[in-house]
């Protein structure tokens, strides 16, 4: 059997599976690599590595268990089989497939009810849902090709349920998904630690500062946690509201003062935010984060502590990146030493030489002013 035709780095791959002849007939989108159901043996899946998107047109024959390691960093678009309800799809794909979908992965089908049902079950963002017009595999491939072309051309189709002009988080981005997965792996144990053994009926309030389009909101179950996001970019706030209608996103003004009362949140965290601000603004942010955290609550930071070109690409500004000791010192001074260090962990992003990132968790000291 010949190997898949090419390494598709930076370009989409379409797994047509049993529908390959049909897709060939309707025409393969230009620049795409098409795989049929004989070309997804584990050894041959290497062709998928670093592709911009993996479109799975025939999920019932795709070996999801072989998507491991770097292959999991390829943004996935899963075209659901038509004519099946959400219960059946959940029973077939369930946790191993739907439960592992990331903010950068998408589900596509013509059935809006199925999309909505799966969104609620698996905490999916609005932008992860792609509503198709046609029900035939060939039509679906064409629609997704048009969608990806539009996104690559800088056109932002309105997010599902969002008004026109609301921008949508960019999803076909291998590097962004890889970095996001690495960050999730470092943050989620800290989220769990902050939640601790809290009883189910005790609300767990979370504030993310610099939430962007809300890519980390999916880490919190709305039934167990009350998630709030703040961002300085109004466009990002609108996009986040479109992605997560049930979460509360607000705009953070230039004064960097949070619109929340003192001692409101059990967990206040920022990921990749402080490295964009000069020290006086960092100090203000630390102080505000401390103010809105309840005594005993957790402050969590995922930041770059090494200035690198890769970090600059992801948004941090080299001149504002602080070495870890200076960062911790500033945190202690800004909070009047009213924090105790809970966790320190370095973070090396995939495919990078240097360890630039790190997670720092601290608990707020003090006695609650209100009960």
């Amino acid at each position: 059997m010949p190997a898949p035709p090419t390494n598709a780095a930076g370009r989409p791959i379409l797994y047509a599976g049993r529908f390959a002849p049909e897709v060939e007939k309707t025409g393969v989108p230009e620049g795409w690599t098409v795989l049929d159901d004989r070309e997804v043996l584990p050894a041959r899946l290497a062709a998928v590595e670093r592709a911009s998107d993996l479109v799975v047109l025939d999920p019932l024959s795709f070996p999801f268990e072989n998507l491991t390691g770097a292959l999991r960093d390829v943004p996935l678009i899963l075209v659901l089989p038509e004519g099946l309800d959400a219960d059946f799809l959940a029973a077939v794909f369930g946790g191993p497939v739907f439960g592992r979908l990331d903010f950068f992965d998408r589900l596509a089908t013509s059935d809006a009810a199925v999309l909505e049902d799966l969104r609620r079950r698996y905490r999916l963002a609005g932008g992860q849902l792609v509503r198709l017009g046609g029900t035939e595999p060939g039509e679906a491939a064409g629609e997704i090709a048009a969608l990806l072309r539009a996104e690559a051309g800088g056109v932002d189709p309105a997010a599902d349920g969002a008004g026109p002009g609301v921008r949508r988080a960019r999803r076909g981005d291998y590097d962004a998904k890889a970095a996001h997965r690495a960050q999730r792996a470092a943050l989620e144990p800290q989220f769990a630690a902050a939640h601790g053994g809290r009883a189910e009926d005790v609300p767990f309030r979370v504030l993310e500062v610099g939430a962007g389009e809300g890519r980390r909101a999916g880490s919190f179950d709305p039934a167990r946690a009350e998630y709030h996001g703040l961002d300085e970019d109004e466009g990002a706030v609108l996009a986040a509201r479109a992605e997560w209608p049930e979460a509360a996103f607000g705009h953070l003004g230039a004064d960097l003062l949070f619109p929340h009362k003192d001692e409101t949140f059990d967990l206040v965290y920022a990921a990749g935010l402080l490295g964009r601000h000069p020290d006086p603004e960092k100090r203000r942010l630390f102080s505000e984060m401390w103010r809105v955290a309840r005594p005993g609550g957790r402050l969590l930071f995922l930041e770059d502590f090494v200035a690198t070109a890769e970090g600059a690409k992801s948004g941090s500004r080299p001149e504002h990146v602080l070495p870890v000791l200076s960062f911790v010192e500033l945190l202690l001074v800004a909070t009047d030493w009213q924090v105790v260090m809970e966790h320190v962990e370095s973070l090396r992003y995939p495919d990078e030489v240097m360890t630039r990132g790190g997670v720092i968790a601290a608990s707020r000291l003090g006695v609650p002013r209100r009960w």
Binding site: F305, V306, A307, T308, R317, P318, E319, V321, P323, V324, L325, V328, M341, H343, V344, E345, S346, M354, T355, R356, G358
Partner: protein, 143 residues
Amino acid sequence: MPEDDFYVPTDLDALRMENELLAFEVRFLRSRLGWTGRSAVSSASLSRLAHLEEAERDLVLLIGRLARSPLGPVLRASGNFRTLEGRYLHSPESQDPTSPNRVAYLEGAEKDLVLLLRRLGRGPLGRVFRSRGNFRTLEQRYL
């Protein structure tokens, strides 16, 4: 570098920052492990532990010198002094820093040192002892 240009770290700076990050992580993990290990034995802080160990060393030195001095046979006539000799010069427990009762042993040594210094200072030979600089230092440190 022009004044209006932002400072951009060089590779060497990046290496230094990375080294600092990794060293800080190791330091944090070490202190956490160390804290957990010690907390199982006692709630004594590190500085208190250091003070107790110093007191034990001083007591061992003091008893050794007294025992070897011309006054040794006289002092050994006292049962209390023989007990101290047995406890701090001849007991294997005093040599074992990993013993789980280490902190309790050290706290006992500090009490014994204070008692011994008081008795020596109050006795008929108090003036003689106090004429020695080392004895005065011990009195200042522990009484």
